[in-house]
Subunit: 445 residues, 2 copies
Amino acid sequence: MARVLIRNVSVLVVPESGEGRVDDAQDIQIEDDRITGIAPTTEQRRDGSGEVVDGTGLLAVPGLINSHTHSPMVMMRGAAEDLGIDDWFNRRIWPMEVNLTPERVRVGARLACAEMLLGGVTTFVDHYFHAEEIAAAAIESGIRADLAPTFFSSAGPQAIEAAIDTARQLSGLHPRITASLGPHATYTVSDDDLRRTAEVARAEGFRIHLHAAETDDQTQASLDKLGVTPVEVLERTGVLDAGALIAHGCGIRESDLPILEQYADRTAIASCPKVYLKLAMGPVTPIKALRTIGVPVGIGTDGAAVHNTLDVWEAIRLTALTQKQREHDAEWMPLSETLRLATRASATAAGQSTQLGALEPGRQADIALIDLSAPHNQPLHDPRAALVYSARDSDVHTVLVAGQVVVRNRELLTMDLPELLAEARSLAHTLVDLSKGGAVQHYAP
Amino acid sequence: MARVLIRNVSVLVVPESGEGRVDDAQDIQIEDDRITGIAPTTEQRRDGSGEVVDGTGLLAVPGLINSHTHSPMVMMRGAAEDLGIDDWFNRRIWPMEVNLTPERVRVGARLACAEMLLGGVTTFVDHYFHAEEIAAAAIESGIRADLAPTFFSSAGPQAIEAAIDTARQLSGLHPRITASLGPHATYTVSDDDLRRTAEVARAEGFRIHLHAAETDDQTQASLDKLGVTPVEVLERTGVLDAGALIAHGCGIRESDLPILEQYADRTAIASCPKVYLKLAMGPVTPIKALRTIGVPVGIGTDGAAVHNTLDVWEAIRLTALTQKQREHDAEWMPLSETLRLATRASATAAGQSTQLGALEPGRQADIALIDLSAPHNQPLHDPRAALVYSARDSDVHTVLVAGQVVVRNRELLTMDLPELLAEARSLAHTLVDLSKGGAVQHYAP
């Protein structure tokens, strides 16, 4: 049995409801992949065996969870700027994606895993093509991932079956890998294909991770064309009944709320606010309304082709800031609620509500140790405020996933960073090449 | 004559209009406090004397400018969370400010200067009490500052005279220090006092730095009480004629634009968007309308009691993001325009349009060298996009102010960081003590 003791560390505690707090001077006991005990530090170590991580001056938080991303899109970082959503898809991203190959996806995913681990992200919920390559990168890097092999109806039934088969193969491949089914969106996958996906999901125990109601314009287009909202499409096709992670949901209408409420035990939303501002998508996800009816909302970055980073600290901060703005209420989305979204609710969005998202005995030992001693966090009147409003990736000191130390003193231990950066640089031009023409899809919701 | 050569560096070029670009493999020649030449790197160094900074792999950008802040408020970082603007002022900040002493202001300013320099900020435009202490900290740290000694009408004529006298004493105190007059706001300083301030400003060559039209609610309150907008108050009192830096301006109305246009040669706005979101202040500064009429808009953080950091990268990023949102146009506030605001326009806001804000011979050698090699900036399809959307404080490698290297390889050279942090921690509790009662002012615009 592998043992790790994190000694003399402060611990962030975010209960199911009410105020979060920080308990100072704690020891965290880890056996294999799990936390087995958290107790006040004693003079003498209770156990002589295993690795000791000195937590003095550090704050232990549940490893961050990126609730919605397309990790290999780091390869397109900065290559699609200053465009609205139509042009972003139709002039850049979908024409670029004709260049995807398994190798390029793997190289992008390796870079993404490195960026996320160095920033304290221990789990990412991914939605992309060639997901088996992303799994390989995640396994190599030491990060945890839920992977949804993505498909469009336009690719035909064989491609859909292949994507579903990939999800089957990824399930159980590795203790840190789970799989979901990944229809792209309500506007790119037919009702028949969504129904078939929901049937497989129910029969085989998958969740469904897809884009829906990304903007209110999409919702209006759905109403105009089909007479129903995207959420109603998800209901009538059985996707909500099977259990879904819905990316974005900025276009969720008041009338959708009673529907979502019925499935609150198995449906979550992932909100990625930087993207909503950058693409001028209109109002952000109605998180307050969703929380009121008990629907969990996780926080994500979306892909770096629009978010430019996979920085979940930035996503957390922007969630609080844009929610205050949306509700015209500076008292809403207070520190503790923001941290609850970033921890427990994001764990639920990742499909692991009992395993991740809190530092408690029995849960997975996915832990980030944060160093809040730099000038931009000092003096430290309230560490919760520091986590939400001033901490940044470079404050992440040590990271454990499933009990394994993967980042120590800001150094990635699991991969050769110069090598993977060189590899990404050498292939970067191939991803943004528009000379071949064509596109993997056309955006016309 | 002190000489510095920055060798083999990439250089950000942001022209007065049109697209920005990056010129690779350049040498920047510096003599004393000025840039004397920028030319392609040659095999051999042209000059054997002076210090050489190796710029290989780094991007030189004009030192960042924090166009509006209250630097000593870092001492209240995280101590006034989740409050609307009324409670933020009346229940936290103004009651806390009864605790200000010269020593506490100096300690806060030292911490602020350290944070800013490490983040690539070479100039800050400050507005606070005990400004002579802030000047001392700025001089010690090596940063450049424009300081506006702040006053309320409620403090009485003697206090106003004392603040104006402080501005006089700070002018010419040091080559890196300039002074402005600092009436707090249109809603806390009477028209008579604003008139008197404008007279002194015109007679003695000062600019006036103050808060006005911070929210549309303030503008409406001014219309209800006085029948004029805050901008009209600034005009009728001669403040615009004297030349002003107006903090925030989110409440600038359409009807104010022709007034501001008349004074566009001597009036600028400072926009601090994180604060507008966090305090749920409503619409952000109408930057597009202001740029259309030629009014310069600089980017700032405001004080860390609300912004939580003095991170100007974050302020730049949020400016672009919130402007796209405000205008419902993802093509607006493109990369080059964002960088122009952060450089040339912020230099104008700092009152130094010909001396700062561009890397050109004849200008001050205020330079930040940025390392874009970390995973979150790679691959680097567009360095301009990296500067706006993915770079962060920790990417700042080396900083020069007035030709002096003040940060090298991420280490602050001018002050003892552990000592100043310890000093700030030891006094932090004194600043947030509400036990004395009272307040320096009451917010009721």
